[in-house]
Symmetry: C3
Subunit: 259 residues, 3 copies
Amino acid sequence: MTIITLTTDLGTRDHYVGVVKGELLRTLSNIQIIDISHDITPFNIMHGSFVLKNSYHYFPNGTYHLIGVNMLYEENSQFLIVVKDQHTFIGPDNGIFGLLWNGEPADQVFRLIINDAERRSTLPMKDLYVRAMRHLLTGGNIEKISGKISSFRQSTMGRPIVSPDHMRGSIIYFDHFENAIVNIQKDEFESLRKGRKFIFYFKRYDDVDSLSDNYSDVPESEKLCLFNSSGYLEIAINKGNAKGLLNLSVGDIVQVEFR
Amino acid sequence: MTIITLTTDLGTRDHYVGVVKGELLRTLSNIQIIDISHDITPFNIMHGSFVLKNSYHYFPNGTYHLIGVNMLYEENSQFLIVVKDQHTFIGPDNGIFGLLWNGEPADQVFRLIINDAERRSTLPMKDLYVRAMRHLLTGGNIEKISGKISSFRQSTMGRPIVSPDHMRGSIIYFDHFENAIVNIQKDEFESLRKGRKFIFYFKRYDDVDSLSDNYSDVPESEKLCLFNSSGYLEIAINKGNAKGLLNLSVGDIVQVEFR
Amino acid sequence: MTIITLTTDLGTRDHYVGVVKGELLRTLSNIQIIDISHDITPFNIMHGSFVLKNSYHYFPNGTYHLIGVNMLYEENSQFLIVVKDQHTFIGPDNGIFGLLWNGEPADQVFRLIINDAERRSTLPMKDLYVRAMRHLLTGGNIEKISGKISSFRQSTMGRPIVSPDHMRGSIIYFDHFENAIVNIQKDEFESLRKGRKFIFYFKRYDDVDSLSDNYSDVPESEKLCLFNSSGYLEIAINKGNAKGLLNLSVGDIVQVEFR
């Protein structure tokens, strides 16, 4: 049984997800389709990469991960097969792979050869991806449907700007509990901090000068910052809704000052 | 392995979907349940038929499609087994089948015989549908649980009003990206247009006099009209939210004038 | 094939559900994962218990039900394996089991032994639950990973306050159609009522002095009360949105006066 996961911004109100699942089931045998999420914020490759990077490695080796985030038609869109850690990914070369591994290289990267019908398709997951999956699962040579390349596109978007005494990141997305997830990671923060004191600034009047271990470290309805289990900075309110109460938006700047 | 798809307006916050899946798994063996959508706008058979019509034919022949849209109790509700294109559908005779195929006939239509307990059920997908599925999957004769009829109910709702120089349709629903999907189809539009110029009118001050091929054919934040990959008219804003920015609602009139 | 259901407040926008599914699929073989809901209102064990209590018994005997509702870290959180009616449940001992069966005892209750790494985990469904599932599915002795206890925690929250002439309940949650579900059950209502007349009071100016059988028993846009198919009181508006139109919130008091 081959496991195929789906991570998309296609939502669950339209026919798109049904189309992709139907086509996979019609074309391939002995597969199990697992939804990771179809509720990635539309076009938000930072959100998509965050969700996939924090979940894919729990799946068995040999799993295929299909990525459908920010698939808006562009003249020269390219799509990749990427192999890393014994997992195989198919997705657009729109920067999402760079975000997935913080710029680290993958084991192998192939650019899919796209035929004319697929070039005109508004849903490459249905056409191109399924054709590639069929080729791979029936033992076809990967180089028959793609060309090996050295790397995927990087994205600067996902990385904070860093100077000796400052980090300047931004809010990637809001999780289900409306906590803000920020593109500042614990490792980089600590290596820059070198044991110093720090202040997190966000919005005009909000700042936090300590890190919590758990939401309940502060009184109810108080704001806090913590590094979550994925190693990312979170701005939260204990038993509250940080997004609404602090009036935060995706893209808002979050600045760290070390002193 | 028999594939059974679900297309419903039951949502994902309640027990209903769990009940249907549990009952299917308890009663039938060797099945695979696939969610097409549970987020059909409540009671909106145009939305439901649109999603199913654009996805069902991608599934393998022999798939069963269970439809649970607008299942509000009515005294004489009827439920059908419909066979078309080697797919089998079970759903309410509330007009959704007429919309599913633009009024075209199916291969075979059967009206289910409903027993007293099922007549009182608030969730026919759990009782009546599962009993029918069990009968069919264990090789029972379909005419033991239903009576053959000539056709299902049609729905006028789904069709635009047409005169030689005008079409008058309406917004069926908004997709995940908040584009408006309109019940005007490309074939009918072109056959009426006969190469003439045209203007789309919607809301008091909004009109569009050309068709785009892609969202990116107009500058960002500009409105556009296009026929989507399903052949339906879409009102959209490039990288924007047509529903909110144009203040559109389900049911709003969209008029075409040919000149 | 072992069926494992998931009922959580984890939502579908984050990596959590993918993590749990991935870990289950990597660790266990021959399983089928079924989503009951990931859209339980965050932290709302009444909502979670309501959805699970109304769906679990439709699944085949031998099904495992994993509960992940209100899993906020607390110092001494305990997690249970509970066996009842030939179904097995794993969930937090936070009162949800008491609500699940209206305070009735289960067949067997075991408290899981938690190791240090699991104690620090922010997602016990991934670590503790999967380890327990693996132990159980590979034929391990349940008493090796847990200790038998007499009962789970009860929750007073779920029960209305009752006097001879009054019941005082509250709104548990709103279903997909925005009907209010109230923690007043038909059996208790009728046994207290003893055939008398009654009035339901909610909000300052809203009251209802009869019970409907169906939404359509009142004119469109009128409010009504009915006991739904799960036996719970519902406040609804025929073809309308009770939550918005009556300005109701979770936790609002609903009072019954018998006279």
